[in-house]
Amino acid sequence: MNERSVKHGTFTVERRYPAHPAKVFGAWADIAAKEIWMDDPDFKSDGTKAELDFRVGGHEHFSGLAPDGTPYRYEALYYDIVPDQRIVYSYEMYTGDARMSVSLATVEIVPERDGSKLTYTEQGAFLDDIEKIDEREEGTNFILDGLGKYLASQSGS
């Protein structure tokens, strides 16, 4: 059992997409679309179906298995939806039965001349250091992989 602890953090990620705000919004509102771009290739299916009830008060659920077989679960609740403009929802992440984090996520979509700007802001309470990976190199690699993809995506433009 981990010791009890809470870390609070806020981060923002912004992207410009050459796509109409309605298209960007649609990618968050439609479960089929979301399954495509939210899919983490490292995670395996646990046989359950993802669910998305995309309306104020609606729930979202998906779960899967980490590469080492650990079950992961995501539960979300939608608070505010302004079509093509804004989505506010909370989400919890579980590993097994242990709650790893509770976050408030805000997605803002602003039209621009050549497409849309998306701003994702997450304000989170990260609990009990559950995601602390024993093999520290793993965390390093994770960050560097993410960074590599990030940089690769930049170099292509």
């Binding site: 990620v13 050549d114 965390g139 390093t140």
Partner: protein
């Protein structure tokens, strides 16, 4: 309370890794320790230049080095990345990845814009932490 939990080194890490030479060094070190000379071998640069890059990597906490005799040995410093804020950095990295995938998805779908508008890929803007 919040301020002390925000990772001041993340911007420096991103900056340090924006350089291809330094990425090569980190890649090399992720496979094991190396001397400054060894790190410089695949790069056409002076030892002094290599050392400067090592210092940048050290300053952001990605790499540590130790001088034994006349040889400076470098190794990756995972502890630097497993600091209290790693949690948040990892979550952010995940969203960086996801939003790039969203860009790929939108590109595949066609953006619903006139064909000549906004040709190109998703453009990352600034990333900020508060």
């Amino acid at each position: 309370m919040l301020d002390q939990l925000v990772d001041p080194d993340l911007d420096r890490i991103f900056h340090a890794l924006a350089d291809p030479g330094r990425r090569l060094m980190v890649d090399r070190l992720s496979r094991g320790k190396a001397s400054v000379t060894q790190l410089g071998q695949p790069l056409a640069m002076s030892l002094a230049a290599v050392l400067q890059h090592v210092r940048v990597l050290e300053a952001c906490g990605l790499v540590r080095s130790q001088k034994i005799g006349r040889t400076r040995t470098c190794s990756i410093n995972p502890v630097g990345l497993r600091s209290a804020e790693t949690w948040i950095s990892e979550r952010r990295a995940l969203w960086e990845f996801r939003l790039d995938r969203l860009g790929g998805y939108l590109a595949d779908e066609g953006g619903g814009l006139p064909p000549d508008a906004g040709a190109g890929r998703a453009q990352p803007l600034n990333q900020t932490e508060r």
